[in-house]
Amino acid sequence: MKQGLQFDDAGRLRHLLTIEGLSRQTILEILDTAESFISVGEREIKKIPLLRGKTVVNLFFESSTRTRTTFEIAAKRLSADVINLNVSASSTSKGETLLDTIRNLEAMHTDLFVVRHAESGAAHLIARHVPAHVHIINAGDGRHAHPTQGLLDMFTIRRHKGSFEKLKVAIVGDILHSRVARSQIHALTALGVKELRVIAPKTLLPTAVENLGVRPCTDMEEGLDGVDVIMMLRLQRERMQGALIPSEQEYFNLYGLTPVKLARAAGDAIVMHPGPMNRGLEIDSAVADGPQSVILPQVTYGIGVRMAVMALIMGGSAEPAGGRR
């Protein structure tokens, strides 16, 4: 049985680097655990002592507000000590390598690193070089993976739709550059949705994307036809420079989610977005703020899901015996 870097010898989740390779059962266990943590945030005293005495370092080589903040809140609600480090690009230009940075922080007896980095594979590299008692959560590496985002999206879908097997899901936007899309795709295929489509112009669809188990679609109205869940992606404005799309106007016309396009989806379809949104570029405000939007609940759920991941990884109670493929 091939375990991969994320699991220890006993088959327990040791790091969370990517959703690829996680079984349906593991994902559902994380969602169930998150369910139990959501209520903590609704209490008067929003703290449980699960990770008391543990040190969590949020190590962000790339700027982020939302993800870093929710990780910080999650760790604090679990009573861990949290340090936030924003390592700007300049410190790497001082000559310190990524592994040097990690080794220095490790020497300060860190238990968990939450890492965001602009390069695909950075979290894997770190995980391969830390001692056994140090855990890594990937908070986004290049275009590769953003597993906690993927998991909180699954949590959101389950909250609003119940189960996954009958769902038709569409992911819309810059699939090529999106770590969020890759994590969503791995999660949704593991959970066995009925149909998964990715919608984008050819310039923003990766080569051989169908090998990931999705149906590529270049026509948005056709792609949205009858879907139960619409997952929008953020479009970086610098994509205009790489000759990937002509203009914001044309992109919005073809791939922006408007009430008209939304009408092609199922009547009770939900609309998601990982944030931050570009209103008027990938999504119309009428949809973002409309009754089918679950964009703000996504953020709330993100805290519970990140608490669950931290608790499972550090508590060591991750998987039920025989729970893996």
Binding site: G4, T97, L98, E119, G121, H124, T207, A208, N211, L212
Partner: protein, 429 residues
């Protein structure tokens, strides 16, 4: 007093020899007899080669020795030791050293450094343009005089098509072979893996096949226009070799090589970001590997080379795209080629031809054959010895190889250069 290599199976494809034959080497370092002793031959030393293959010393068309300029990675001294331990007696080094090999002094310096160690011969390739900048032509005649066996801009693209045309015309004037790394730099962009399934899964920027085919198409058109003789280095895609095959059919003077690792690995070997598989051009799909193997079998590709690129460990300890490309590959050149024999793609003599006289022909070097009168550069290997590659066995300063842990069959036991025994494996008698 000469050397007798006794009881071995001699394979010398250039002379059509493939059988049990003793090899007699005179005291000047030349082959004096094949199969039977020349008159009055006295062996001062006998190498027992029973059960072993005796073949010409291997000729490697591309190895970076890192000197001058990157001595923290490797040196000429460290790498010529690795070469002879791998049975390689002749190798070519590209001009992308620091400083660049664009002057006769640089070309001579590298050869004289190698000469001092008396191990593998090094034939430099001269720069095609000054400082590889793709603007002004290098002094090709002077480089030729100084011992360069061809000219190339190495991995630096000549983006100005007019400069490329002029460079080819000028090389043709001097009857020099132009070595080409055909690649369209805009299509390569910031890519670091094959644009395909694995790059998509890992979110790594891809280099499309078209980066190679567009480069090959442009260069073939210019070769046709200028009549220059050209050698395409390091082909990686099935479609590119098809284009070379077609050009050869039309009679264009073009040859091509492939690296041993592109014949064995694919994009899938990258797994979860294995930076040891970060090479340029990238490892491509299974179909591409199959296309390269077919072209090797059919003769479209005329040489297997190591494309040796030793690195210090830190060069690979970075996120994939930021790690430095290249494999320390001298010592797996023969073992990986012999694997193609085990896999029944090539006959043993065909495999040896691709490592000896065929690459020697491409650089016009008098090497890679063992007829009477030839310089006695000899590689002896035990074709049955099974071994597993571990870091401590590597002689090269660079330990960056994805083949650690691979089991190989066939191991070099002795290497002779100019009739001198320069390497003997610890277990060999």
């Amino acid at each position: 007093m000469g050397i007798l290599i006794k009881g071995g199976h001699l394979i010398d494809p250039a002379n059509g020899v493939d059988g049990k034959k003793d090899l007699y080497i005179d005291n000047e370092g030349f082959v004096a007899g094949v199969g039977k002793a020349p008159a009055g031959f006295k062996a001062g030393k006998t190498i027992e080669a029973g059960g072993r293959i005796v073949c010409p010393g291997l000729v490697d068309l591309r190895a970076r020795l890192r000197e001058p300029g990157l001595e923290y990675k490797a040196t000429i001294e460290s790498e010529v030791h690795a070469a002879v331990a791998a049975g390689i007696t002749t190798l070519c080094c590209p001009p992308d050293t620091h400083p660049v090999i664009d002057t006769p002094a640089m070309a001579q310096m590298i050869q004289s450094r190698a000469w001092r160690f008396g191990l593998a011969f090094i034939h430099p390739l001269g720069a095609l343009t000054q400082n590889l900048e793709g603007k002004r032509l290098a002094d090709m005649e002077a480089l030729d005089e100084a011992g360069c066996v061809g000219v190339t801009n190495a991995l630096v693209p000549v983006t100005d098509t007019l400069v490329m045309r002029r460079a080819m015309e000028y090389a043709a004037t001097l009857d020099l072979t132009v070595f080409l790394h055909a690649e369209d730099p805009w299509l390569r962009n910031h890519g670091c893996v094959h644009e395909g399934e694995v790059g998509t899964r890992l979110g790594l920027p891809g280099i499309p096949e078209a980066a190679e085919t567009v480069g090959v198409a442009r260069d073939l058109a210019l070769i046709e226009q200028t009549g220059c003789r050209a050698h395409f280095c390091n082909l990686s895609s099935r479609r590119a070799v098809t284009m070379i095959a077609e050009a050869q059919r039309q009679g264009l003077p073009v040859s091509a090589d492939v690296t041993a690792h592109h014949l064995h690995l694919t994009e899938h070997d990258i797994g979860d970001f294995n930076t040891q598989c970060h090479v340029r051009p990238p490892l491509r799909s299974k179909q591409d590997r199959q296309g390269l193997r077919k072209a090797l079998k059919s003769g479209v590709i005329g040489a297997i080379c190591s494309d040796h690129q030793p690195h210090e460990p830190d060069a690979k300890l970075a996120p994939f795209a930021q790690s430095e490309p290249g494999i320390s590959a001298l010592e797996t050149l023969l073992p990986l080629t012999l694997k193609l024999v085990d896999e029944e793609l090539l006959a043993l003599s065909e495999a040896i031809a691709l490592l000896t006289h065929k690459p020697a022909q491409i650089i016009g070097a008098d090497a890679g054959h063992l007829g009477v009168g030839a310089t006695a550069d000899v590689c002896i290997f035990d074709p049955k010895a099974r071994w597993v590659l571990t870091p401590d066995q590597l002689v090269s300063r660079g330990h960056n190889t994805p083949f650690l842990g691979w089991e190989f069959r066939g191991r070099v036991t002795h290497t002779l250069i100019g009739g001198k025994l320069v390497y003997q494996h610890a277990t060999a008698s």
